[in-house]
């Protein structure tokens, strides 16, 4: 097991080198989401009666946080294949490799927070002390990224088509989660209630977004997140102990 500091540096190198190829470099990471938000904001401004002051911050935080969640999920299935050389040389354990991948995806997210800050400045939104709860939500989300990457990384090493299955699910989940649409007035009790109640992605997303927008986090969200975090970690530990030694043979 390497030191945590080393893993962060390794993730940083991965992150920094990734964008050097392009001419405008790191700005490119901000361009995509910004274009998406502006286009969708204009479109929805025309077709719905929700004011852009409500919709744009909702969309921005939702989209950026979704990029983090879906980054964890879709990268997880190939994490060990991508790092085959590191595994076969020894020196790095499977949890080390998972940690580097999770930190790199998180750095990507932290970079994109610039867009959220810009939106808060443009619409002159205020933050309260309560908004700090969002950091806790983010922390729990990253913790879940760790077990998830390890869990799906092991399954993905064995079943190569898991990547396609997962990305198909994530495309549907993007539409089923309130990112480009707003949940109805009454939240989980409203017309789209089922898409909120039974959608774990919604609960994780809301734990980051709701505090920033001054909304309340429901007890159900806390319960779902807590349940998934604890059971996810437990299942992954059992799974890892049972199968970790197979991974070098599979990749």
């Amino acid at each position: 097991m390497n030191k945590p500091g080393s893993l962060i540096y390794l993730a940083y190198f991965d992150f920094a080198v990734q964008y050097r190829k392009t001419m405008i470099g790191p700005v490119w990471v901000l361009m995509g989401p910004t274009l998406f938000i502006v286009t969708l904001g204009l479109l929805f401004g025309e077709v719905s009666n929700v004011s852009s002051e409500v919709f744009i911050p909702h969309l921005t935080i939702g989209l950026i946080t979704w990029t983090l969640i879906s980054g964890f999920v879709t990268d997880s299935t190939t994490v060990f294949q991508r790092n085959r050389a590191q595994i076969m040389q020894g020196g790095m354990t499977l949890p080390d490799i998972v940690a580097v991948d999770v930190i790199r995806t998180t750095l990507h997210f932290l970079h994109q927070i610039i867009i959220v800050i810009a939106v808060f400045v443009i619409y002159d939104l205020e933050l309260e002390l309560y908004s700090l709860l969002s950091i806790a939500g983010l922390f729990v989300l990253v913790i879940n990224g760790v077990w998830l990457t390890l869990f799906f990384g092991i399954i993905g090493a064995r079943y190569r088509d898991l990547t396609e299955v997962v990305s198909a699910i994530m495309r549907i989940a993007f539409l089923a989660t309130p990112i480009i649409w707003l949940p109805a007035e009454r939240g989980a009790g409203g017309i789209m209630g089922a898409f909120l109640t039974f959608n774990p992605f919604y609960h994780f997303l809301d734990a980051v977004r709701a505090p920033l927008l001054g909304h309340e986090i429901t007890m159900m969200t806390v319960a779902v997140i807590g349940g998934i975090t604890v059971s996810g970690i437990l299942i992954t530990v059992i799974f890892y102990r049972r199968l970790y030694f197979r991974v070098p043979l599979w990749i």
Binding site: N2, K3, G5, S6, Y9, L10, F13, D14, V17, Q18, R20, K21, A85, Q86, I87, M88, Q89, G90, G91, M92, I155, R158, Y159, R160, D161, L162, E164, V165, Y244, F245, P248, L249
Partner: protein, 253 residues
């Protein structure tokens, strides 16, 4: 008191299930995941990569692993490196172990040579301070001072290898594992590389090397094992092992 062992392998076997391509597809049969998890041991064919391996390595000993292609030499080295975990038996290693397998792989082609020194150093568990101290020595040995700020994908194969060797051979481990001797490259650099590798082997506490090069083994190794189909068929001094291998190799099968 028995002598201290660097490596003690006790009756190790490594067996793996064989996969057909369709076994690796979840969508051909989604229930396969469940059945694999609970029935894997009974249903699939099993191949024994290594069987009943026992060996010891004491400080100062250098073990040559001899055998035809597919005998399990690389697998044995990976078992000793801790990458593969034995299905049965135990592998005990005293001290640090380092394997140099495919050292040119796993570097980041988009990153510069200098960044790759950091990346590889961090992967090997060094601190940033230690890596910073290593850099002058790496540059001096690899003669890459002018190129080190360029991305790795602009390096020639020879430069790539020089950098990889320079970084990988900074600190000698207690047990060094080599899958084939590293010593190719441009002729001007070959002597320097040979010198470096020999010095590295000398500094290491013990060596296990798999190679087809018998003259190299003679100059390097003290002991030998002969592997055939994943089993140790002979164990002794290097000369005896080479003699045994040459006699047996004449007989087909």
């Amino acid at each position: 008191m028995s002598r201290r062992c660097l490596i003690k392998v006790d009756k190790c076997s490594l067996s793996v299930p064989v996969f057909q391509p369709e076994d690796q597809q979840l969508m051909t049969n989604p229930l396969r995941f469940i059945s694999d998890l609970y029935l894997s041991r009974t249903r699939r064919g099993i191949v024994n990569l290594l069987e009943d391996i026992s060996l010891e390595l004491h400080p100062g000993e250098r073990l040559g692993v001899i055998g035809p292609n597919g005998a399990g030499k690389s697998t044995l080295l990976r078992l000793l490196a801790g990458i593969y975990v034995p299905t049965t038996g135990r592998v005990g290693i005293q001290g640090s172990v380092k394997g140099l397998f495919d050292i040119s792989l796993g570097m980041n082609p988009e990153a510069t040579g200098l960044e790759n020194i950091y990346i590889r150093g961090l992967q090997m568990g060094y601190t940033l301070k230690k890596i910073q101290k290593m850099i002058p020595e790496i540059l001096e040995f690899s003669e890459l001072e002018d190129a080190i700020e360029r991305p790795l994908n602009t390096f020639s194969t020879g430069m790539h290898l020089r950098l990889a060797v320079a970084v990988s051979t900074i600190t000698a481990p207690d047990v060094l594992l080599l899958d084939e001797w590293i010593g190719t490259g441009d002729s001007g650099f070959r002597d320097k590389l040979q010198e470096r590798m020999h010095k590295f082997v000398d500094e290491s506490g013990g060596l296990v090397i798999a190679s087809h090069n018998t003259s190299l083994m003679r100059s390097l190794c003290t002991h030998g094992v002969v592997l055939a189909s994943g089993r140790i068929v002979f164990q002794g001094s290097l000369e005896e092992a080479l003699d045994y291998y040459q006699q047996e190799a004449v007989v087909p099968g």
